[in-house]
Symmetry: C2
Subunit: 332 residues, 2 copies
Amino acid sequence: MQKSYDIAVVGASGAVGIELLDVLHRRSFPISKISLLASARSTGKRIPFRGQNLTVEKLKESSFSGVDIAFFSAGGEVSRRFVPLARDAGAIVIDNSSVFRMQPDVPLVIPEINGGDVAAHHGIIANPNCTTAVALMALYPLHLAFTVRRIFAASYQAVSGSGARAIAELQQQVRAAQDGRAVEVEVYPHPIAFNVLPQVDSFLSDGYTKEEMKLQNESRRIMHLPEFRASVTCVRVPVYRAHSVAISAEFEKLVSLDKARQVLAKAPGLDVLDDPQHAVYPTPLQAAGRDNCQVGRLRIDSALENGLAFWVSGDQLLKGAALNAVQIAELL
Amino acid sequence: MQKSYDIAVVGASGAVGIELLDVLHRRSFPISKISLLASARSTGKRIPFRGQNLTVEKLKESSFSGVDIAFFSAGGEVSRRFVPLARDAGAIVIDNSSVFRMQPDVPLVIPEINGGDVAAHHGIIANPNCTTAVALMALYPLHLAFTVRRIFAASYQAVSGSGARAIAELQQQVRAAQDGRAVEVEVYPHPIAFNVLPQVDSFLSDGYTKEEMKLQNESRRIMHLPEFRASVTCVRVPVYRAHSVAISAEFEKLVSLDKARQVLAKAPGLDVLDDPQHAVYPTPLQAAGRDNCQVGRLRIDSALENGLAFWVSGDQLLKGAALNAVQIAELL
């Protein structure tokens, strides 16, 4: 008989929460009971799950009694306050915020890469940043083959990474621009429709954004590579779903295109789309809604002694968030 | 008394041609006579210029008799056939195609950088690739201060770089997507609405695109730096106008942020927009329609020993094409 679990989903009505329910369903996760939790704003919403209509309940300090696994994707403030309470109530927390990711006693896990780290948890496991997850799905197999030293990367990030309000903002701005009306700006500091913004998350004193440094710092923990360096520019683009990253990676061992293709073709959770002469390469529209990330545009890097340039796309709501969280739960 | 010139504009009804007429007007270029030339498809079109309505004439072998300066922006095929004819008829040709850019006897010129090279022309002067022009407006002043070795770059290129049909394609695809209709694909191999495409121009056998290698090879000629290396990913984004480029640049001399800001602030044709804490940085919407390129997001590069990361936006129809061409004509 398979064990089944009492599950809580915090942020159930958000962009990631909805995907999480879908992934739990699709992967037939063994659930005995499920509570959907959210802020007062969403309380009472009805959300369909496995043929029932579940009601979103207000998140409270007492919400986690009897819960085995709690998924958090309601932002940093909610995680900071409620994750310790859930853990103290006996739940194992899989947290999608950045609050606990760099704490040494909190494993930061991509199951295909460092699933073994889950074992060392003390009640909290962190889900990585979405851009980091998408990039590492391709970089890590290459690292195993060639040993990565550093990368130069630029991202093309979808608005769904900023949640449901950002999706609505892009839709509204596109309509306003088409009708010749003034574009209203609320979620982002500048219009995102027919524009790109070289800002994701807030700025640090060194001029990088938090999002940009996550790709370096989280990758170090996930790949167990404390010396790994990344120079990243994170850019929001008018795409609804799926992030893409252009990467130049420098390696220690001699890189060959054949071997790179070979290891990527065998890598779990990754599809190689690389026949550029026939316009076959990853794009966010093709990656949206898919569990697997996609890699293509493979080429020997023209500015590195021993490097590879490539392009990755991946659905950041799935591999970058919901799918990865459920995969972590499956490891438990 | 100022000399004035007999001018021909080939490709006058195209996206760049229209801008060229506007730039000639705005900069009060001394014109005694102007002929608008195009393929049979556009012959007979009326185009306003300085209060008159000029008629587009069919481009013929005999079109260049008496012409002093001929601007070409009608694509590679037209340039390949008609540029030599125009030169042999006695015109000085300023060509916006890539056909002659790498010929040693054809100067490839950005006036702010290597205006002096114009003097060595033999009747043909090449206008650089648009992404190259935008990137070098910021990179070259930094090179003068610190001596550039190589760059890693990723571009965010507007659809107007592919001409008027691509602009229409984005508009139509956005409407179709909003109405839930099937998106039709014609100019680009995949939908560009709410998507990004890691392909600009065609692919070379090494896996880079022609567009990507232009940034290395044209930069070498323009900056007189035959050893300069660039690893570039060129990406089309759903933006109507103005290209952007994220750059990590490695230098020989010690880089300081203060000195970088200083030299960029003094650089001709460039505005520094760099106060990220107040969301001040270049975006394509802000750069569109402006003669000056914009640079921001300056930071000491986190993955280079001696590098600077930055972000440039520039109107590729202006600095990347029409403005630069007229600036070359002004040097003559």
